[in-house]
């Protein structure tokens, strides 16, 4: 018997595919966001309201990580291109699923791609999809302990949206404890309470997304001065 040292990351191949996807996005100047949350946190509701705010300004497309077309139909009803990235029941999206989904979109006509990941606060954080920003959505009814329970997810976030903030007065949710849990992982991260139902706080989220998109587009401008 012999021992053979390998020392190779398990997700190496998938990560390389994710990097290739990022190159495709950049070649088309498409800004992309990966939306992650637990089931029921309101990913689809946030996406729908975001589309409503943006659809006459930017060309948006959506990739839905799911096994059925229910959310796909909801997005399609708003008149934006949407494709299902079929997960086969898996608990996360990976770069192979993304690659297949992207083949179904006309990338020439898109400014922003919103990816709705599978409802799960552990696995999606481990799979690089090539997207530019990770958006993590938590919600008030889930409880204030999610950042403490799922640090991997919150550690990798570029912004945290606290959805269903209209429930803050009705639930035993300590905003300070929730924020502290996140700040222990990332001191300066933006945390935005909002409600996809009432629209409260949405202006700040839309401003953040607009600024992120503008900065992304400006990054292609070569400074010749």
């Amino acid at each position: 018997m012999k021992q053979f040292v390998i020392n190779q990351p398990i997700l190496d191949e998938l990560t390389k595919k994710g990097i290739a996807i990022r190159q495709v996005f950049d070649a088309h100047k498409i800004f992309s966001v990966n939306i992650m949350a637990s089931p029921g946190a309101g990913k689809t509701s946030v996406i729908l309201r975001t589309i409503e705010s943006f659809k006459n300004i930017y060309n948006i497309a959506v990739i839905e990580g799911d096994v059925i077309e229910l959310d796909v139909e909801r997005v399609r009803n708003l008149g934006v291109p949407v494709v299902l990235a079929h997960t086969g029941g898996s608990c996360h999206l990976d770069s192979i699923m993304m690659e297949q989904a992207l083949k179904q979109l006309n990338l020439e006509d898109i400014d922003i791609i919103i990816v709705e990941n599978v409802g799960n606060l552990i696995c999606p954080a481990n799979f690089y999809l090539g997207t530019h920003r990770n958006i993590v959505i938590a919600s008030v009814p889930e409880g204030d302990d999610k950042p403490c329970k799922y640090p991997g997810m919150f550690k990798g976030a570029d912004i945290v949206l606290l959805n269903k903030c209209d429930y803050l007065d009705h639930e035993a949710f300590e905003l300070e404890y929730f924020e502290k849990g996140i700040r222990q992982l990332q001191e300066n991260i933006r945390i935005l309470p909002l409600s996809a139902k009432t629209g409260e706080g949405f202006d700040k989220w839309i401003a953040w997304l607009t600024n992120s998109y503008d900065r992304y587009i400006k990054s292609f401008t070569i400074d010749t001065s």
Partner: protein, 86 residues
């Protein structure tokens, strides 16, 4: 369920290296995983056995060495029986 994806990726890696070192049979595979990745030994072994059935990896033992982080997922090493049977 994510163990199925991990098992598939481990299979590809081990297959490549087993071919390279002319392994007759793979006896054991050693992984290193962060506790925050949520990879579970029994679940991984279950999917691994399904994938390995009828291959030189059938019957191979999987051992996961857990470390305290959120991201590490590594195929560390494997124990093999080479073409000479040793």
């Amino acid at each position: 369920m994510h163990e199925l994806t991990y098992a598939r990726e481990v299979y590809k890696i081990v297959h490549k290296y087993a071919k390279y070192c002319k392994a007759n049979r793979v006896i054991a595979i050693y992984l290193v995983a962060g506790t925050g990745t949520g990879i579970e030994q029994a679940s991984f072994q279950f999917y691994w056995e399904k994938l390995a059935k009828g291959t030189p990896f059938e019957g191979s033992h999987i051992e996961i060495d857990y470390i305290n982080d959120d991201t590490t997922l590594l195929v560390d090493r494997m124990r093999i029986e080479d073409k000479g049977g040793s």
